[in-house]
């Protein structure tokens, strides 16, 4: 459930960014990097700190 919430939150932010800066929506690579940062790298870094 926590994982699904993380993906939904990442999606909401990505959609908001995409609507504001549509250029972002053209790049699959940027989308991929964003998703990896949002659901893997950042949670792992935060988990290490706490």
């Amino acid at each position: 459930m926590k994982e699904v919430a993380l993906y939904i939150a990442a999606g909401v932010v990505y959609i908001a960014l995409g609507v504001a800066i549509p250029e972002l929506l053209f790049s699959w690579i940027e989308g991929a990097v964003y998703l990896l940062l949002a659901v893997w790298v950042l949670p792992a870094l935060l988990g290490r700190r706490s």
Binding site: Y7, I15, V19, P22, W28, G31, A32, L35, L36, P43
Partner: protein, 295 residues
């Protein structure tokens, strides 16, 4: 062209084929026809130099141009190369299915695709929504997300959502990793969370883009919805016959392609019937020693 269907289709196909398919080549196949050509259709500028096809529609789907990437034959040829290099039937078949899904989906717009190239340069088109790649990325986005194109994408996204089990970790462990050694090798370097995220990227990207473009086209901008066949009518759509007409119309091309296609079709039909006849003969010539239960 389709903006999101190529992201969602692989997950639906994955759901139906399970371990008989490998996801990575399936996804690569689904993107392959546009992978090296789309940037030149819309144009790209750097250091004051603008690179763009003179006739984007012709370049994207036609001949002469890169339209051969949208043919069913292209999928077969690349799949054969994959098989010859890696000796992996599952990788070859998966690529083929993904590429065919892309080509057939693109045949739904007004421009269509040269599905049977090189046997014919005719573009097969159902004409459901307007092809407007030549108008530039933003007008194209506005047009696509105002007509039946985004409905088609929505259909695939809904189907992918209904197939949600393919997105779970359990499915990833039990099916995706088992079917394709790529993931087992990647698991030596990356944790499972990262691998699952990589596997889900296209679904995430497609879903978010679909929602974001809809909001952009109808809330931020005010493109008008038009669900008529071949619409929206307010955009200057390219029709398949416009690109067909600009193809090579010399007598040798006009006469050679249909003849070549017919010859190959007859040869293929002959092979299939010969194989069937051999199979039938084998099944009827069983030894009595096979016993009454032998089939």
């Amino acid at each position: 062209m389709s903006w999101v269907a190529h992201d969602a289709e692989p997950y639906v196909i994955q759901k139906h084929l399970g371990r008989r398919i490998a996801f990575v080549p399936l996804l690569i196949g689904s993107y392959a026809p546009d992978l090296a050509t789309k940037w030149f259709v819309y144009g790209i500028g750097a250091f004051g130099v603008e690179l763009k096809a003179d006739n984007p529609a012709q370049f994207h789907r036609g001949y002469p141009g890169a339209g051969f990437t949208h043919s069913l034959t292209f999928g077969v040829v690349v799949a054969a190369v994959i098989f010859l290099i890696w000796r992996s039937r599952i990788w070859a078949v998966s690529f083929l299915i993904g590429q065919w899904a892309h080509a057939l989906t693109d045949a739904l717009d007004t421009l269509g695709a040269m599905l049977l190239f090189p046997f014919t340069t005719d573009l097969f088109s159902l004409g459901a929504w307007a092809y407007a790649g030549q108008t530039g990325r933003y007008v194209d986005a506005g047009a696509y997300f105002s007509g039946l194109g985004f409905v088609w994408d929505g259909f695939w996204l809904a189907w992918a959502v209904l197939s949600w089990r393919v997105l779970t970790r359990a499915y990833f462990r039990e099916t995706i990793m088992v079917a394709d050694p790529f993931w087992r090798r990647a698991a030596e370097y990356l944790p499972e969370t990262a691998l699952v995220a990589i596997y889900r990227i296209s679904f995430f990207y497609g879903t978010c883009r679909w929602i974001a473009w809809l909001i952009w086209a109808h809330v931020v901008r005010s493109f008008a919805f038009d669900f008529s066949w071949g619409g929206p009518k307010w955009v200057d759509a390219v029709q398949s016959n416009e690109v067909n007409a600009s193809g090579c119309s010399c007598p040798s091309c006009c006469s050679a392609s249909p003849k070549l296609a017919l010859s190959l079709a007859v040869a293929a039909a002959g092979r299939i019937s010969a194989r069937r006849a051999r199979g039938g003969a084998a099944s009827t010539s069983r030894s009595p020693r096979d016993g009454p239960n032998a089939r």
